[in-house]
């Protein structure tokens, strides 16, 4: 049986070129970049080159690139670090209702510590209205955190506009770009962001390594106190192989972005059309055009997501229902609720996220096996009247 991976938003396989770039740093150039002797200097150089490369690809300065252990640490650091550093200025944070849990749970934690958080609503397509951001700003607002693109429904936010408002009002602006970096063109200057989170494993890089971009001049408290690494802002022996891998993966992603996206958008729209025409009582979630090139998200009325995934799995198709990270919890997706879906419909969603290796043949296979699976579950459902 063929196996089709349609869950690239959850994680991606490492590109063999990325593995190759990392290998020399496992057993050969293994030194601690903080040391002064020769073999450590080679590692220091690899670290510097990776930082330079990533900075260039994001339109940043190398001194603005800080390595972390992934998207979650970057988000936690950005939000807690700013909240802490600007506490004397105020205690109000603005975010959106559809952020990743790395942002939402961090904000909830800060609420328990005396911060005040506004969770902005989104429209039916999952977009934040920049005017809502403007209206939410108060004298004590110290941070705005709005994600670049959503991990479940793929909606891309008007980041540039929101950033412009934040800049004008003198408020620090963070964006969780974990799903966007390596997938759509991003320039931190053009986007008007002060902090940006990204994670290696979302674009064929290694797991357990990420970046927080911190614009020059922004004050931030460390989240991981320790050695003097990362210019004294983030302790811990540098994960040199991981960092080298992340830089290589980002380079490849950006290099091939235009070509890959052209192909993926075609495939995405082909699948969307196919599902819409072959199955009734369905709804495409997310924005029709301001949408990640690889994201497809449908609600199938009367059926439940996990059952759907299990039956697809039996056919060799690996997809997701809402965010993989939330599957430890069984609550319906907060993102689908926020775009206005009632609870039972929010439970019946299917997320298909493409990678550049997916083919039209795979799409055709999906479109062949999906309709009978949906029908089978509907026949079993007490909510469905044929």
């Amino acid at each position: 049986m063929q196996k089709i991976y349609f869950d690239h938003a959850a994680t991606t396989a490492m590109n063999p070129q990325v593995v190759e770039a990392m290998v020399p740093y496992f057993t050969e150039n293994f030194g601690n970049p903080s040391s002064i002797y020769e073999i450590a200097r080679k590692n220091k150089q690899a670290l510097d080159e990776s930082r330079d490369k990533i900075a260039k690809l994001l339109g940043a300065d190398p001194k603005e690139i800080y390595f972390t252990s992934g998207g979650t640490e970057s988000d936690n650091w950005a939000i807690k670090g700013i909240a802490d550093a600007y506490r004397n200025k105020g205690n109000h944070i603005i975010t959106s209702a559809i952020e990743h849990h790395a942002v939402l749970h961090t904000c909830e934690y800060l609420e328990s510590k005396g911060y005040e958080v506004t969770y902005l609503p989104v429209n039916e397509f999952g977009q934040v209205d920049p005017q809502d951001v403007l209206k939410a700003i108060k004298d004590n607002t110290i941070l705005i955190s709005i994600m670049y693109a959503n991990n479940e429904i793929g909606t891309i936010q008007p980041i540039e506009e929101i950033g412009k408002i934040a800049r004008e009002k003198g408020i620090v602006f963070h964006t969780d770009a974990v799903q966007a970096v390596g997938h759509i063109p991003i320039d931190v200057k053009k986007a008007n962001v002060d902090l940006l989170s990204l994670s290696g494993h979302k674009f064929h890089g290694p797991k357990g390594v990420g970046v927080l971009y911190i614009r020059k001049g922004i004050k931030i408290k460390p989240l991981l106190h320790g050695g003097a690494q990362e210019r004294g802002r983030r302790g811990g022996t540098e994960n040199v192989p991981g960092i080298v891998g992340l830089a290589k993966a980002l380079e490849l992603a950006v290099e091939n972005m235009e070509e890959n996206n052209k192909k993926m958008i075609e495939l995405r729209d082909y699948i969307i059309k196919g599902i819409s025409s072959k199955i009734d009582h369905v709804k495409l979630n997310g924005h029709p055009t301001d949408r990640l090139p690889n994201n497809i998200n449908f609600t199938f009325d009367f059926i439940e997501g996990e059952s759907l995934l299990l039956l697809l799995d039996m056919k060799g198709i690996y997809a997701s229902s809402g965010s993989a990270c939330t599957s430890g919890s069984l609550d319906p997706s907060h993102v689908l609720l926020a775009i206005g879906l009632p609870h039972e419909r929010a439970h019946g969603s299917l997320r298909i996220t493409l990678g550049d290796e997916n083919t039209k043949e795979e799409a055709d296979y999906l479109l062949e096996v999906l309709p009978p699976i949906v029908q089978r579950l509907r026949d079993m459902s007490p909510l469905y009247e044929a």
Partner: protein
């Protein structure tokens, strides 16, 4: 994450469907958390002659519905009353901790159907309590999460 038995009952669920003019019907669950279970009973001479179910829910919900209906088929009402969620889970070789509540749903659906039968026929079944109206079983992570 599921045992082979669970997967078998999920992939090939027994007793899916409806019974026309059933002796009793029970619907439990709450669309809020995405799970609804409906069990139909055909009872004759105190014996469950036939049983069918419809379920909107996860793999475990489907499998426990299937197993619960298998376990009560042909049993007396008194025997059926002894089919707890634990019995269903054991018959399925266990469920992951986060899925235990799905088996509770199956037990409750069965009892709701028996209650309906008892109400309709004006009889009393020992140990049977009326189904809770707004059942809301929480979807919590069981581990301590301080």
């Amino acid at each position: 994450m599921y045992s082979e038995k669970v997967m078998d009952h999920f992939m090939n669920p027994r007793n899916v469907g409806e019974i026309e003019n059933p002796s009793g019907v029970g619907t439990v669950g709450n669309p809020k958390c995405g799970d609804i279970m409906k069990i139909y009973l055909d009872i004759e001479d105190n014996i469950i002659k036939d049983v069918k179910f419809k379920t909107f829910g996860c793999g475990a919900a489907v499998a426990t519905s299937s197993m619960a209906t298998e376990l009560v088929k042909g049993k007396t009402i008194e025997e059926a009353m002894k089919i707890t969620n634990k019995a269903v889970m054991e018959a399925l070789d266990g469920l992951p901790p986060v899925k235990v509540h799905c088996s509770v749903l199956a037990e409750e659906a069965l009892q709701a159907a028996l209650w309906d039968y008892a109400q309709k026929n004006g009889i009393e079944i020992e140990g049977l309590t009326p189904p809770k109206e707004d059942h809301d079983h929480h979807h919590d992570i069981p581990e301590d999460n301080e």
